[in-house]
C-alpha cells in the first residue's frame, strides 16, 4: 500500500442524542456529517475536532431500537489530547461527565492523564503532554 492513514474509530451507541450531547457539549467535538438510513434501520454520525480530510474522527453507529451493547474486554479506549488535563476534568465534571481516573501524572511517560466515561460506558483517555514531548 503506497499511502494510507487512519480515518476513524467506530463505536456503536445506544442513544444517539445522548452521545452527540456528550461528544459535542462535554468533549468539544462537532458533528461533521450524518447518514440516516431508515430503510436499513441505522444511522451514522461522524464527529471530530477537525476536517476528516486532515484528522482522524469518531464514527458513532446507532442501530434503531438497540439501546445497549456488550462492551467486551478487548477494545480499550480512544485517547484525546488536551492542553490542561486538570482544567478539562473540572470542566467535564461541571458539564455532567464522569471522570473515572485521575488526573494523574505518569512519571515514566512525562504526561498527565485521566479517564472519562462516555454515555455508553466507553472509556476515553485524556492526555496532556509538554509541547516538546515528541522529538
Amino acid at each position: 500500500m503506497k499511502k494510507a492513514r487512519l480515518l476513524h474509530t467506530m463505536l456503536r451507541v445506544g442513544n444517539l442524542q445522548h452521545s452527540i450531547d456528550f461528544y459535542c457539549g462535554v468533549m468539544g467535538m462537532r458533528v461533521l456529517r450524518t447518514l440516516d438510513q431508515p430503510k436499513d434501520k441505522f444511522s451514522l454520525t461522524f464527529l471530530g475536532y477537525g476536517d476528516e480530510s486532515k484528522t482522524c474522527v469518531l464514527e458513532l453507529t446507532y442501530n434503531y431500537g438497540v439501546d445497549n451493547y456488550e462492551l467486551g474486554t478487548a477494545y480499550g479506549h480512544v485517547a484525546i489530547g488536551v492542553e490542561d488535563c486538570e482544567k478539562v476534568c473540572t470542566e467535564i465534571t461541571a458539564r455532567g461527565g464522569e471522570v473515572t481516573y485521575g488526573p494523574a501524572f505518569m512519571d515514566g511517560l512525562n504526561e498527565m492523564i485521566a479517564f472519562v466515561k462516555d454515555p455508553d460506558g466507553y472509556q476515553i483517555e485524556l492526555v496532556e503532554r509538554p509541547k516538546d514531548w515528541l522529538p
Binding site: 480515518l7 463505536l11 456529517r33 453507529t61
Partner: protein
C-alpha cells in the same frame, strides 16, 4: 480561535491521539499492522512492574498523526470482543489493489471492495469500502 475556545482555553480537548486495543500475541499483532497494513512501530513502552507492554503503530511519527495503541498484558490475556466496538477505518489510495494485495497475503476479505450500498449523505461524500 472562536469565542468559546478563548473563554475555555486549555479546558477543551482538541485532538484524537490514538485508539487502544488489547491484543493476545504482541508479535503477531505488530507483524500484522506492520507487514500487512504497512504501519510502523512508532514507540514501545515496557512496564515490567505492571507486567504489560504498549506498542504504538502508525503511518507516520509526526506529532499530530493518529496512532493505534496495542496493549499486551503479560499474564492472562484472552479477551471478549463484545458488540460495542466496531472497527478502525483506514484510507487507501486504491482499494481494489489494496484488497488484491491483502487477499494474496492470506487476509480474509469480509466485504469485497465496492461502493457503499446506501445513498450519498448530505455532504455528497462518496467512497468505496471493504472490510478485512
Amino acid at each position: 480561535m472562536t469565542e468559546v475556545s478563548k473563554i475555555f482555553k486549555g479546558a477543551i480537548p482538541y485532538r484524537m491521539l490514538y485508539t487502544m486495543i488489547r491484543v493476545t500475541d504482541l508479535g503477531r499483532s505488530v507483524a500484522f499492522y506492520r507487514d500487512v497494513l504497512g504501519m510502523r512501530e512508532v514507540r514501545r513502552e515496557t512496564f515490567s512492574e505492571g507486567r504489560f507492554t504498549l506498542v504504538f503503530m502508525g503511518y507516520s511519527n509526526k506529532p499530530d498523526e493518529m496512532l493505534i495503541e496495542l496493549t499486551c498484558n503479560w499474564g492472562d490475556n484472552s479477551y471478549e470482543h463484545g458488540t460495542g466496538y466496531g472497527h478502525l477505518a483506514l484510507e487507501v489510495e486504491d482499494i481494489f489493489v489494496a484488497c488484491d494485495r491483502l487477499g494474496g497475503m492470506g487476509v480474509k476479505i469480509i466485504r469485497e471492495p465496492g461502493s457503499m450500498t446506501w445513498p450519498v449523505d448530505e455532504t455528497g461524500h462518496r467512497e468505496n469500502i471493504a472490510f478485512i
